[in-house]
Each structure stands twice: as structure tokens, then as C-alpha cells.
Amino acid sequence: MSFEIDLRHQIGEREIALTLQSEARLTALVGVSGAGKTTVLNCIAGLIRPDAGRIAIAGEVLFDGDEGVDLPPEKRRAGYVFQDARLFPHMKVSANLAYGERLARARKAMIDRAELIELLGIEALLERMPSTLSGGETRRVAIGRALLAAPRFLLLDEPFASLDADRAETIRAMIEQVRDRLDVPILLVSHDSDEVGRLAGRVVELD
């Protein structure tokens, strides 16, 4: 089972509850904005502690409220591509890419660095600072940074948001490549079920 998620989390007045079991290589989590999709991703990545529940991915338990299991983010090995990318502003693109890669050096890389840079089309950006990149470039670098950290699973938060149709199509093609070539379960969050239809083996609604 790729994703086995059962969690409850209260933020202010809003109660977020999700039960999800999926074997698909790419699972899409769809819901209107404000439904708590990003909160779910943060719980999975270990950035937020859910009030209760259990999260297991590819057979490993990351969180279990009853058993007292709560791995810190650095032990979960999430390849988290944030909607706002969160590239480190004081590091060049190459240093951003190397950040997780260096920390993961003991593990087996899932993809060769040069191959990934070519796949994402970011060779020309390596010496640039993040503040000089366009939205599409920023997102491609963020995907590269997450993949080079040898993640056990990928979390993609609205990967097509605020991109024009051409750029969104490029990113979509890249995600397809990653899905088909790398052995890593992907959870993709989107507000629009139309844009994930072609990609996802399984679509789950979050109310």
C-alpha cells in the first residue's frame, strides 16, 4: 500500500478529517481551497502534528497517535514540493539542489543528478539566485531539490497553480516522467479535479 492515511486535526473552528488508502503510483487529493489540503500535506511531512490518527507510507509508520509514533520531518524523507517553492533565498540554484542531496548521500540516489537536471531543463539556471527565477523555473528547481534528497515519497502542493497553460503542461509532463520512471509514490494536491485526471491513478475528495 502506497498511502495509508487516517487523520484528524482541528484548526480553530475547522475540523479536518481524512481517511485515504491508495495503491496508485500517483494519488490526487482534491478539494476546494480552504478544505485543509495543505494541512494534510504538512501533517504527512511532519511539519504539523495531527491531533489523532495514523500515517503510513510504503509500509513505514510515520505517525501513530495511539502508539506514540511521531517521526521528526528529517526522518520521514518526504520530497515535499511546496506551492510557494520555498527555495533558500541566500543560496544559488545549485546549492538549493545540493541541500538535501548532501544530507542524503548515504542513501541510494533514485536518479542521477545530471539526468534530473536535464529532465527538468534547469541546466542554465544553476548559477542564478532564486529571486531571479520565473514562477515556472522556481517550481522546476523545487521539484529537483526534493527529488535529489532521495525521498521515500513525493508531496506536490498545487504544482500547476499560478502558471500559464504552456508552463503547466511542461510541469505536467515532468510529473508524468517522474511517476513512470522513479519508484516513488506521489501524493498530489489540487483544487481542480480536471487538471489531475490524466495523471492520477486514484482521486480522493477532501470535504
Binding site: 511539519l47 528529517e74 520555498r86 533558500f88 541566500h90 541541500y99 539566485m129 534528497a149
Partner: protein, 232 residues
């Protein structure tokens, strides 16, 4: 050299030594306090915040008096330092440095705290998901991104130390060659008839030193932040 007499050089040298030691010794303490106040919620945080800021609002002579009680030869900390390490702070340049450090601390903490608060915590979260331990995320993200605040805090602390008067004269006294820094030398000159020229020269030196410290830190911060941050 530069038209300064030996005596003036001695005063300038002592002032620089006292201020430099005060700032360097306070830097890690100030940064740790700034980080605690910016990033952690704990019981007594408000009290710690108030204590750090106390030297800013209490009359300096009172701060000096408190230092005398705590760090004097018969004081609880001063007595222990003297018995254990043979270290005397009163009537000593190290005492002047301690007084300057305590007075500079609030300014340093304020500048550093602002810059730590300005570092996006979500970047720290991103570093953690990429495999960084909390300590590593701090060293690679929070620390470099708050560097302008560290430089600004160090500069403010240095300038404050150069000008420190009340706590120093109360705690470390006004001893030629030992604790008579620039402000104390200017004060002493004002007590003597016919030393007007001496006072004016020392005052000009004092202004130039402060200006140099200000400009140096501005250049430093601009360069380290790639022109995106400034002190002034």
C-alpha cells in the same frame, strides 16, 4: 601619529579594547537570547524580555551599583570569581568591559531578534523535510539569513560601549590607563581648568570613531546581504 598624543592614543586604545571585548563576549549570549525571545514560547518569557531590556531604562548609575553589589570583591559572583580564578573586575578594565556589555546587551538583542523574526520559518520547515536536523537547519538557514541583524546588533553594541559612562564610572571607577575610556576622559577634562582644548580633541575623536563604526557596519551588512539590507 595622526596628530594624537601618546596619552590620547592610550585612551583610544583602551576604549577600543573595552568595547571590542564587551561586544565579542556578549555576541553569542545576545544571539541566544534573541533566538529564545523570537522563536520559543516558554513560561517567564515576558520576565526574561523585561530583564534584558532593563539596562535600557534603569539609570546607568543604578546598573553600575547593581554590578558593584554582584561583582564587587565581596559580592556573590565577584567573590567567587576572585577566590576561584583570582579574577578581579572592580577598578579593572575587564570591569569596564562588563559594564559596557550589560549596557549594550538590550540594543544587541533587539537588532538580532528583529532579524531572526524576519527569517521565514517555513524555510526552516523546508530544510527539515530535506533531511536537516533542527541544529543543521538553524546553522544553514536561520543563522546566515539573520546575519545582517547580527552585524547591526554588534555595531550598535560597539557604539553603545564606546559611549558608556554611568555604569562604568560607578562600577569600574575612573582610573587612568585602566578604566578611563573616552567618555570618562572627557568628563575628567571638564573638571580641570584649562583643559578645553583637550576635551574638544577627545570629543572629535569620539565622534569620528562612532561614525567609522557606523559606516563600517553599513558597508559590511550591504555586502553580506547583496545590497538588500542596511543598518542605517
Amino acid at each position: 601619529m595622526l596628530g594624537l598624543s601618546d596619552m590620547e592614543w592610550a585612551i583610544v586604545g583602551l576604549s577600543l579594547k573595552v568595547s571590542l571585548v564587551a561586544v565579542l563576549a556578549t555576541l553569542p549570549i545576545a544571539y541566544a537570547l534573541a533566538w529564545l525571545l523570537a522563536r520559543r514560547n516558554f513560561p517567564g518569557r515576558l520576565v526574561l524580555d523585561a530583564l534584558v531590556h532593563l539596562p535600557l531604562v534603569v539609570p546607568p548609575v543604578v546598573t553600575g551599583w547593581l554590578l558593584l553589589i554582584l561583582f564587587g570583591r565581596s559580592g556573590p559572583i565577584g567573590g567567587w570569581l576572585e577566590n576561584s580564578f583570582g579574577l578581579t573586575l572592580v577598578f579593572n578594565w575587564t570591569g569596564a568591559a562588563l559594564a559596557a556589555a550589560v549596557m549594550a546587551l538590550p540594543l544587541m538583542v533587539r537588532a538580532m531578534r528583529l532579524s531572526i523574526e524576519a527569517v521565514d520559518r517555513r524555510l526552516v520547515g523546508a530544510a527539515r523535510t530535506l533531511g536537516a536536523s533542527p541544529w543543521r537547519a538553524f546553522v544553514t538557514i536561520t543563522l546566515p539569513l539573520s546575519m545582517p541583524g547580527i552585524a547591526a546588533g554588534a555595531m550598535l553594541g560597539f557604539a553603545r560601549s564606546l559611549g558608556e559612562f554611568g555604569a562604568t564610572i560607578t562600577f569600574a571607577s575612573n582610573i587612568v590607563g585602566e578604566t578611563r575610556t573616552l567618555p570618562l576622559a572627557i568628563y575628567s577634562g571638564l573638571q580641570l581648568p584649562g583643559a578645553e582644548e583637550q576635551v574638544a580633541r577627545l570629543a572629535i575623536i569620539s565622534i569620528l570613531l562612532s561614525l567609522a563604526a557606523l559606516l563600517a557596519s553599513e558597508v559590511l551588512v550591504r555586502r553580506s546581504a547583496g545590497g538588500r539590507a542596511h543598518v542605517l
